[in-house]
């Protein structure tokens, strides 16, 4: 490969790719360097000092790393090809209320005091699910099934942690979830890495948007990437969490109970992820894998949940509110249901909050399903049509 020449290279010049011509002036190479990225104030390609503050900061990979947009695109493309060969996609995971729940020491209620003696040793993270972090003054409870979830998901996805918590918190949580640093090495993104305040973005993830799925309990932070998002049911173990979201009931910790391991949210979403993964890598589809879009697959799988249902809403939307714009209407449509404003013989479900309305009576008379709006939300979280009899509608006294 003509590697014998090129030994007379001046200070700082890059070795030419076996072109057979000695490089006369190192300065030519340096001037031509586009400085694709800067780390510690030095260009990653030519080593020169660079003052440039352009591009995106990737502080979670190295505290002083910035990459230009071209470089990010180049890495994304290369990495995508690499992942496709391994038949993997990208999965971005939120921490709080998705994979775990934390509470501060000072927020622990009297009924939760018993937990303090049940925490597991930090040195043996694989054995327990409840941990006491003295340096952060917090108790953390991992969501049931999370270890199995991570293990199985890692076979299908390259995973990132993306939290709105601070870096120190994020790294501690990563140590609990991934003590051997196998899943999240250099892939823990925290609040300080976001390029926009109060918004999470895929701009700091080194993966193609068309191949990323997001698991998060909060929708508003992913405004730019709603199509990649799988909304998770919130995990509120501690009393402080319940109060944070306005629930006045006793928390799981106070009831000495927990989410089911075998059919909790993580187990359910794992099956959905497997389904989406299988559909994405389906050989029979013929076209180039690089052109496929996981967002399309996600949409398709969602559309199956309430396929065949035709819904009419009664006393669900405020009067004078444009029904089609309501969140529930849109949710039902995304789940594959047909929504309509007026009753007709093809209607299958009446969704109502009051069993005394005209439409509700019609449903009972015509032997159609009468369900509470929570039936739609349940389908959204559980990715399956739920038995209608579990969502009865009460008669409200007028």
């Amino acid at each position: 490969m003509g590697a014998l020449v090129n030994s007379i290279v001046e200070d700082g010049a890059l070795g030419a790719k076996g072109s057979g011509m000695p490089e006369p002036r190192a300065s030519i190479e340096k001037d031509m360097c586009t400085h694709p990225g800067v780390i510690g104030g030095l260009c990653i390609r030519c080593g020169q000092k660079v003052d440039d503050q352009s591009g995106v900061a990737f502080g979670y990979i190295h505290k002083d790393l910035r990459l230009g947009n071209d470089e990010v695109a180049r890495i994304r493309k290369r990495d995508f090809k690499n992942l496709l060969r391994q038949k993997k996609l990208y999965l971005v995971l939120d921490l709080d209320h998705t994979l775990l729940n934390s509470t501060r020491f000072l927020d622990v209620t009297p009924e939760e005091e018993y937990l303090r003696s049940q925490t597991h040793a930090l040195q043996e993270p694989l054995k327990g699910s409840l941990f006491r972090l003295d340096n952060l003054h917090m108790l953390t409870k991992l969501r049931p099934f999370v270890r199995t979830f991570l293990k199985e998901a890692s076979n299908l996805f390259e995973m990132y942690i993306y939290t709105m918590g601070e870096r120190a918190y994020a790294m501690e949580m990563a140590k609990l979830l991934d003590p051997e640093n196998v899943h999240f090495n250099s892939k823990v993104i925290a609040q300080g890495d976001c390029t926009q305040r109060h918004q999470k973005g895929l701009d700091v993830v080194l993966g193609h948007e068309s191949a990323v799925l997001i698991l998060d309990d909060t929708e508003p932070v992913w405004v730019k990437h709603k199509d990649n998002l799988i909304l998770m049911e919130r995990y509120n173990f501690f009393a402080s969490s319940c109060r944070q979201f306005g629930f006045n009931c006793k928390s799981l910790s106070e009831l000495k109970s927990d989410e089911s391991e075998a059919d909790g949210a993580l187990a359910t979403v794992l099956e959905v992820l497997k389904q989406i993964h299988g559909m994405f890598f389906d050989q029979k589809l013929g076209d180039n894998l690089v052109d496929r879009d996981v967002r399309q697959v996600l949409k398709t799988v969602r559309m199956e949940v309430l396929k065949g249902c035709k819904l009419v809403f009664s006393r669900v939307f405020p009067t004078k509110f444009q029904a089609e714009k309501h969140q529930l209407w849109k949710m039902a449509e995304q789940l594959g249901a047909l929504c309509t404003a007026e009753l007709d013989p093809s209607v299958t479900h009446v969704v109502s909050t009051d069993a005394g309305t005209e439409k509700s009576h019609w449903a009972v008379r015509e032997k159609r399903f009468l369900v509470h709006p929570r039936w739609i939300e349940a389908a959204n979280y559980l990715w399956q049509k739920q038995p209608e009899e579990n969502f009865p509608v009460k008669q409200t006294k007028s």
Binding site: A3, N6, S7, V9, D11, G12, L14, G15, K17, P36, G37, I39, G40, G41, L42, C43, I44, R45, C46, G47, Q48, K49, F58, I61, H62, L65, I75, R78, D79, N82, L83, Q86, E158, E180, V182, N185, S186, L206
Partner: protein, 177 residues
């Protein structure tokens, strides 16, 4: 590259240390203050090997502290642009890898890794040639060339390359030799 040089420093000593062990205390303070620090000119001070000369102390007006000019010998480590070093890989990711040569941290980006080496993610991320014959992973020893350096008060950071001839893996941590 390591150097054995003579440096000079003005050491300030509090009057409570004056007495029989003044010189020892001075030397101890010197070691505490200087070993492990960095400067742009000399690099990283690894160890003080001896004190050549302690000059006459000068009392500072108003405080009672005394300043002694101290000449001392020490071993310093300073990387140079173009220098070829051996380093141990500490972390591998899709951007490249980080390696350490003593107190110096070096980053080799994937731009400066031979094109026939591909990044393999997994529980032991690495860069491997297509035939699998050469692998760079954590704890591998590599020979690299420095192409840029930056020094601040506590650390030296460098950019390196392994794209030239005779650079690359020296030993595989998993290999039986």
């Amino acid at each position: 590259m390591f150097f054995h040089i003579v440096l000079e420093r003005n050491m300030q000593l509090h009057p409570r240390h004056f007495g029989r062990d003044l010189r020892d205390k001075l030397v101890a303070k010197l070691m505490k203050d200087v070993e492990g620090t960095c400067s742009g000119r000399h690099g990283f001070v690894v160890a003080i090997t001896g004190v050549e000369h302690v000059g006459k102390g000068l009392i500072r007006d108003g405080t009672g502290f005394v300043t002694f000019p101290v000449k001392y010998q020490c071993v310093v480590f300073r990387p140079f642009k173009g220098e070829i070093l051996e380093a141990v890989v500490t972390m591998v990711n899709k951007m490249g890898f980080f390696a350490e040569a003593g107190p110096v941290q070096i980053f080799v980006s994937n731009h400066l890794i031979p094109d026939d080496m591909e990044f393999q993610s997994g529980d032991m991320p690495n860069y491997t040639t297509s035939d699998g014959s050469v692998k760079i992973q954590k704890d591998s020893e590599v020979r690299l060339k420095i192409i840029g350096t930056r020094v601040d008060a506590t650390e030296i950071f460098c950019i390196g390359t392994i794209k030239d001839d005779f650079l690359g893996v020296i030993s595989d941590p998993g290999a039986t030799s």
